[in-house]
Amino acid sequence: MAAVAQTTPLSRILWPALAWTIALIFFFPIFWLVFTSFKTDADAVKPEHLFFFTPTLENYANMTENYDYWRFAINSVITATFATAFALAVGVPAAYAMAFDPSRHTKDILVWMLSTKMLPAAAVLYPMTFLTKNILGLFDTHFLIIAVLCLINLPIVIWMLFTYFKEIPKDIIEAGKMDGVSTWGEIKDILIPLAWGGIASTALLTFIFCWNEAYWTVRLTTIDAATLSKLIEGNRAPEGLFFGRLSAVSTAAVGPIVVLGWFCQKQLVQGLTFGAVK
């Protein structure tokens, strides 16, 4: 590509330099968050300590005391893990049936599933509050958050798995059937080993979406099942008082997920566009 462009030495330097500059600008806010997290609250707002200061780990050491970080982090881990596991447990058999035994309705069912993902959450805010508080008594429980996270991600899970499963030659599954392997055996011994990569990246992406969810986790919890989104939302505007400690707890909330995200950039395209971009 661009054989002409690459012969001029100027453009050989210029374009990469521009690309690097833009990348660094985009990464800068994250860098600044991490950078600020090593300043004391006092240093964080002093112009003379903008770039030069004595780094400290006290914000991280005091995270439990200041924000009860681990309580929220553990809730995030529990809800995201179980929601991902349940979504896969329901999604794998469904996607298996759709990919290897499609009926003429399969396409419609898939499109309908995606359509549930497109309903604005706010439209059902009060019914969800009412149902969970007054009728089911599940408000602010781990079970509720797990169920909701599982449901809002189920369409994406099924869709991603469906596209991965379709890549597997049907003959392999058919051969299993001929040999009299049970359906459960087919899924466990043939499908899962073959589609392991696809299942793993689906799980990873679902976990990230669950971790970052910021509507239901904020509106349907108070304290018991509150996740990191709720923690940060609750400490949203310190008016400059606690920049250091707030940066530390924010870094701890997003750090692991950003790193996980690096490993599934490719799957992200598929997961978010429902395979419409190849």
Binding site: F26, A94, K107, V124, N212, I257, W262, Q265
Partner: protein
């Protein structure tokens, strides 16, 4: 023809769960939108229980349509969504074309570029509104103060001092006012979602027909005309998809507005629904139905595109 029972059975849990999840709350919203239903009322305590007795017909819809807040929220939702769309698509295209050539460190550039997308919305908002945009203590305030100090220092010099003494003192923009906080939301969401556009456009650029480009180059087509005549048409479909997916996500923006605005008047539809929900459930539900209709208009086009590519 194979036995149909088993595949149906395997799909049943997913279908039933999603059906309940969709129908039950939405049905309730629909019902509440037709009755008088408030959480607190000393004058009319009978309105505090949802019941068919309190039927109001289209009254809630009329109330919402007459509310100034509703039209402002629609306008503001559209303003925020369209601004974000323009910025993310334009930046996304330029960056994708830029990064789609090979150069040293391309892998690292990709990783740096994609990172904002994985930051949770709550942290995104807290980080931008405090550490970056705060008019006194954030980088915004510090940068403006730094420029002012510099100008004051330069005034001490002969000759050029004369020039700089005519410069005004700059004032940092506060992003906590009602209009500017919408700009802050646009900024932070653009930062978060440009990587998404870049990623999709890059995926699509990799499937671009190179032989066509080479032919164009031999014909002496400039890089710009190649971009306009070959690359943009090739990207038409991904652009449409980026626009639709983002519209659906950003029409439901919530955490960012909640964190940045804190009731300063900057609101969108989900935020307005949240406000109504503190007392007037009838109005909240009618607004919710409007939000569903708005999202559906976009979703229908998107689903059609997705549906087409589904089985091939």
């Amino acid at each position: 023809m194979a036995n149909r029972t088993l595949p149906r059975l395997l799909q049943a849990p997913a279908v039933i769960m999603l059906l309940l999840w969709m129908l039950v709350p939405l049905g309730m919203t629909l019902f509440f939108s037709f009755i008088r239903y408030v959480l607190n009322s000393l004058r009319r305590p009978e309105w505090t229980t949802p019941s068919i007795e309190n039927w109001r017909g289209l009254g809630n819809y009329k109330y919402v349509l007459d509310a100034k807040d509703f039209w402002f929220a629609i306008q503001n939702s559209v303003f925020i969504v369209v601004s974000i769309l323009i910025f993310t698509v334009v930046f996304g295209l330029l960056i994708a074309v830029l990064v789609n050539r090979s150069f040293p460190g391309r892998g690292i550039v990709r990783v740096l570029l994609i990172s904002p997308f994985f930051v949770m919305p709550a942290v995104n908002a807290v980080l931008w509104i405090n550490m970056i945009l705060d008019p006194v203590l954030g980088l915004n305030g510090l940068a403006v103060a730094g420029i002012n100090d510099l100008v004051v220092g330069l005034r001490e010099f002969p000759v050029i001092g004369q020039f700089f003494s005519m410069w005004p003192e700059l004032k940092p923009i506060s992003f906590r006012a009602s209009q500017t906080s919408a700009y802050a939301v646009i900024m932070m969401v653009t930062w978060q979602w440009t990587p998404f556009a870049v990623l999709i456009f890059m995926t699509s650029l990799q499937s671009e027909d190179e032989s066509q480009k080479e032919a164009a180059m031999l014909d002496g087509a400039s890089a710009w005309s190649q971009f306009i005549n070959l690359t943009i048409p090739h990207l038409a479909r991904p652009i449409a998809i980026v626009v639709m997916i983002q519209s659906i996500f950003h029409l439901s923006l919530y955490a960012e507005i909640e964190i940045v605005s804190r009731g300063n008047g900057n609101k969108n539809l989900p935020y307005l629904i949240g406000e109504f929900t503190s007392n007037n459930i009838g109005a909240a539900s009618a607004t919710g139905i409007f939000a569903v209709i708005l999202a559906n208009i976009i979703a229908i086009f998107l689903l059609r595109m997705v549906g087409k590519s589904l089985m091939d």
